[in-house]
Symmetry: C2
Subunit: 361 residues, 2 copies
């Protein structure tokens, strides 16, 4: 079998991000705007009541309490690195976000979304601080207006090139959203019906080699709140239309696995832990290589804001319990080196290995 | 107390290189010339009988068998990275050598030694491949001829600047040698008498801020084969003059701790494991922050060359046992963050932390 050649920096990144089983059990604490809102809600105030210090403190607590459990931790450079880096467990690899929090209105009736890279921040700096991977959150619809698609694809290409230049892993997180006239919201049956095709087609697009993506961080391809088994309000006591079944979720995950050139992981996008455990289990049983979990794991701790002690206590008990649940749910995840991209561990080798490697690197 | 400010990349490096106790339990497998000779000796042949493949194989076995035990592994870029990187445990941080193997004759009667940086290799490449630290082996005598000292110091300054630029840890390994007319060899009582002062004075020199060294990898400051307790041949059945006592070794280590601006670790320099365990214990009990151990841990496995299976079996049994012994011997090592440089963990913070950190980094 022909060997899969991979550059030293990218190989190092894969082995750091995954745990010793080759599975990605990763934590996201790079939320900015959404975390600010949660903290504000906890004290019944407006976002503006929550400043730098409060956000940084919340992130620090999550990093201290939970990073030792996860194979990698995703931080932002605004609050995360300067205030939490020293509390990152040495066993947890480090991913850093490259985009600005939030989006700008764009395209059709201003309802589409433009991703903006964080100013005065770049892949070179991410590499310099010793991170193992770069993460880009990209709002994306394969059925967007052409100008929007082109703009968003260009950003991915740009970040992909930079990551290649600095030999660091590139984790792309495409995120869908509702914007068409026939989609009242992302929590509508109309949007739920489109979601599998959106996620699959997005995975196919960014599997093209020209983007140089190394890991896809994907949404769960169906909205479980609309499946036969759960549509009567299992997760949030709100009844919804029955749009599909769990079998549809399974086959959508298998389809993602088929079209993804590189290993993929599931993201949590703010759903509750009960729902996320199903997401992780179905995805892991159908080809995903693990998860990159954010709010689903820790969001409830914000309810204890501003009492630091209570916030930490929640994280060290319920937060850790949430970790254990998704860890269990990901037992059958595909090790990254068994993904079709690598085939198996013995098949991997450093590109241009041999006596002259160091001269040519 | 005033905080100690440290850049993000250097902070990340410290926390990766040390284990969760803050102690450096590190493995060196960057030997090139000396490993080649050991393999040749094992089959009773000349060095020229041992090629790239054989050296790379030996290094790969050590990395596979032992890197999971050590908090960090030191590799070379010629054989190590291209052939062993994929086998490095994700729990073991990575240090990379920057110098060429061997030295060039220099200075007094051509008996002094010039360190040469490896051609077509540099700190930028070390950073690019995802390493956590740069290591420079430097032959050095504080009582060298001035031209030699200046040349060697310039190399350290150069590497220090590069490491600062790329925000990566700099581990300096100064190594003494005999060259004066009154020093028949490094295994002579004359040289043994001078050794404590050489090692202490070298640690003092490279503690100057201008060199930007982050960790000193030092020789044990006395030759234990000449101490009262062991001089009758304890380690190699060869009787030697009594030059000093274990108390002298202890006070020399305390003196190193006093003059070292940064944390220091002990190196093994090819002594047998029995002697090295004493080195590690005495150093750790007197201020060292751990060890960076090479041949003392694994050298005997070369005797089984070229039978790969036997080499691996030795490493997984005796090699691991050697690790356990030096781990035990380093129980009282000083966590890096308790070294005088940091004072304690709460005292450390990222330089320029705050809202504008990411802009200015």
């Amino acid at each position: 079998m022909e060997k899969v050649k991979i550059t030293a920096g990218k190989l190092k990144g894969f082995s750091r991000l995954a745990d010793t089983e080759g599975k990605f059990r990763m934590l996201a604490i790079d939320q900015r705007g959404s975390l600010q809102k949660m903290l504000a809600d906890a004290i019944g105030k407006d976002k503006s009541a929550i400043g730098y210090k409060e956000i940084a403190m919340a992130k620090r607590l999550v990093t201290q309490a939970l990073s030792p459990y996860f194979s990698a931790t995703l931080m932002d450079p605004e609050y995360g690195v300067p205030e939490s880096l020293k509390y990152l467990s040495r066993h947890s690899a480090l991913l850093i976000a490259t985009e600005k929090s939030g989006t700008e209105p764009f395209g059709y009736k201003g309802r589409e979304k433009k991703t903006v890279l964080l100013e005065d921040w770049d892949v070179e700096k991410i590499k310099k601080l010793g991170a193992d991977a770069v993460k880009l959150l990209l709002y994306y619809r394969p059925d967007s207006t052409p100008e929007v698609k082109e703009y968003q694809q260009d950003i991915v290409r740009f970040v992909g090139e930079e990551c290649k230049k600095h030999d660091i892993l590139f984790v792309l997180e495409p995120m869908s959203f509702a914007f068409m006239d026939d989609e009242p919201s992302s929590d509508s049956p109309q949007f739920a019906r489109k979601k599998p095709e959106i996620v699959i087609s997005t995975a196919r697009e960014f599997s093209k080699e020209e983007y140089d993506v190394d890991i896809l961080k994907l949404e769960f391809p169906v909205n479980l709140k609309f499946v036969q088994e759960f549509h009567k309000g299992t997760f949030d006591e709100k009844e919804r239309e029955e749009v599909y079944s769990i079998k549809d979720a399974e086959s959508a995950c298998r389809e993602i696995t088929k079209v993804s050139r590189v290993p993929w992981v599931i993201l949590s996008a703010g759903v509750d832990i009960e729902e996320f455990v199903y997401n992780v289990e179905i995805a892991s049983n159908n080809g995903a290589s693990g998860f990159l979990a954010g709010r689903a794991v820790w969001k409830e701790f914000t309810k204890h804001f501003p009492i630091e002690e209570d916030m930490l206590a929640w994280l060290l008990t319920s937060g850790v319990e949430n970790y254990r649940q998704i860890y269990e749910a990901s037992k059958k995840a595909t090790p990254y080196y068994e993904h079709n991209f690598f085939k198996n561990f013995p098949n991997i080798e450093v590109a241009d290995r041999g006596e002259n490697w160091y001269r040519e690197y």
